[in-house]
């Protein structure tokens, strides 16, 4: 075991944390509206769109993330090139920052799982709650935002926690797009000095700390949200 290398790489790897967190945050941000859209379409059984969304969710959940990365990383530049040509935009497609592709992929793949989380969370709230809220004079919007969503959120928190942790874990695949995140830095360092164990132990610890922190935060949120729970009984 090369301790100095272990320490030096750990410092280097720490510089990758902002990128990992950035990818996670931005992907989450984009996937929330997308997931809500899919969940509502599927909940209300909108014709045709409903089937498309179901197929989309099934496809994303049925394929490895690494393959999604390769497919999108190969297909989006060509589509953009065609579009740019059509619209007469003069922009070098192949010089787009790979971080953007990473965000597209992780948003798409997270939105599929998140739509399922939202759907199952909404299903836990009894229909009577909405009906009762409307009967006592709340508008549909108010009923959703004040009565249904807060209760659904309580049910969704544990699943959301898993989702965020899984997202952080899957951002480790961004190295396939040459994005410089934690894993990519460790891989480069490991290969240059043949110190594989040290480098991978470093990121093992970094991911452990990151994900544990996320889990702790969610636990706090869950405790705080429990006060809504008394309403469900």
């Amino acid at each position: 075991m090369n301790w100095t290398f272990l320490y030096q790489t750990l410092i280097l790897v720490l510089h990758g944390i902002p990128m990992t967190l950035f990818l996670t945050e931005v992907s989450l941000l984009f996937s929330v509206p997308l997931a809500f859209g899919i969940a509502l379409v599927r909940k209300n059984n909108v014709a045709v769109l409903d089937k498309i969304c179901a197929a989309y969710v099934s496809f994303i959940r049925g394929t490895p993330v690494i393959l999604q990365i390769y497919v999108i990383y190969n297909i989006v530049p060509s589509i953009l090139a065609v579009l740019f040509e059509m619209w007469g935009i003069d922009y070098p497609v192949y010089e787009i920052n790979p971080v953007i592709y990473a965000i597209i992929i992780f948003s798409l793949s997270t939105s599929a799982t998140m739509s399922e989380v939202i759907r199952s969370a909404l299903a836990t709230v009894d229909k009577g709650q909405y009906e009762a809220a409307v009967t006592i004079g709340l508008s549909g919007r108010q009923a959703y935002f004040r009565i249904v969503f807060p209760q659904a959120l309580v049910a969704a928190v544990p699943n959301l926690c898993t989702l965020v942790v899984n997202l952080i874990k899957s951002t480790s695949l961004a190295f396939a797009m040459t994005v410089q995140d934690i894993t990519a830095i460790a891989k480069i360092e490991a290969a240059s000095g043949y110190n594989y164990i040290e480098a991978y132990l470093d990121i093992f610890i970094v991911y452990l700390v990151l994900c544990s922190a996320v889990e702790q935060i969610f636990k706090l949120v869950e405790c705080r949200l429990k006060r809504y729970k008394s309403a469900t009984i």
């Binding site: 099934s58 496809f59 959940r61 049925g62 394929t63 490895p64 993330v65 690494i66 393959l67 999604q68 390769y70 497919v71 190969n74 297909i75 060509s78 589509i79 090139a81 065609v82 942790v165 952080i168 874990k169 899957s170 480790s172 695949l173 894993t183 490991a190 594989y196 164990i197 991978y200 132990l201 990121i203 093992f204 991911y207 452990l208 990151l210 994900c211 544990s212 889990e215």
Partner: protein, 237 residues
């Protein structure tokens, strides 16, 4: 221009499907080893020893927080060096060994939780009733608790298989020759032209396998559910 060579796309299927048995072998062995490991973990979780309980819960947390690619690299690059200290050389071992070990370790964490929760889902009264009816502890476990716990665990078991299948695609990074490994090699051989066609074909294969696994699990669930209802009607359940 947007180009998609359909001929190469269709050609990819037989080429890739030839490696499907290796993928299945990997999943089966990982699941088998994973189940064995998780049995040990679940015994610790339900046991009385506090240290063992802490260890197995800690294991689950650590695994849940580790990206599978990091675990794969740790096992593949780390394990040979660790055992080399004890004078054992496993550098030349089949890559399947490392892949299976990785995904067994990975799935054991989640599986032990699945097993624990499904074991706890069976009311204690059932065990007590069986014991007072004269069954031994082992009989109670084998005939009363486990068959019911299995029904509860089945959907999650299906998810575990799917997650091994999907994460298993990463095994190509250590040079394991499964479908994904073959795909990367086909693409490299063609100097990365027609990469999209091959990847899309592979994605479809994975998708179909996942749907099949889901359907099998759903079918199994319905069968078991039906049997349960029938048993209840006849007054056995």
């Amino acid at each position: 221009m947007l180009r998609f060579n359909t001929e190469i796309f269709w050609e990819s299927f037989p080429q890739l499907l030839r490696y499907l048995p290796i993928t299945f072998e990997m999943i089966f062995l990982s699941l088998l080893l994973g189940v064995i490991l998780s049995l040990a973990l679940v015994v610790m979780k339900l046991g009385k020893r506090k240290a063992l309980r802490k260890f197995s819960n800690g294991y689950t947390t650590v695994i849940r927080c580790t990206p599978s690619i990091v675990l794969l690299f740790l096992v593949y690059y780390g394990l040979p060096k660790v055992v080399a200290r004890f004078g054992v050389n496993i550098d030349e071992w089949n890559k399947l060994f490392f892949v299976v070990l990785t995904y067994a370790l990975m799935s054991a964490g989640g599986l032990s939780e699945v097993m624990r929760s499904s074991y706890e889902a069976i009311p204690r009264g059932q065990t007590e009733a069986a014991l007072s009816a004269g069954l031994t502890r082992l009989q109670t476990l084998r005939r009363i608790v486990l068959p019911q716990a299995f029904v509860v665990a089945l959907p999650n078991l299906g998810n575990t298989v799917i997650s091994i299948l999907k994460n298993g695609a990463l095994a190509y990074t250590i040079g394991f020759a499964d479908m994904m490994g073959k795909a990367t090699r086909i693409i490299a051989k063609r100097y990365t032209t027609y990469a999209l066609e091959t990847y899309v074909a592979l994605a479809i294969i994975y998708w179909v396998i996942c749907i099949l696994i889901e359907q099998i699990i759903k079918f199994g669930e319905q069968r078991l559910e039906k049997r349960k209802i029938k048993a209840a009607k006849e007054g056995i359940g």
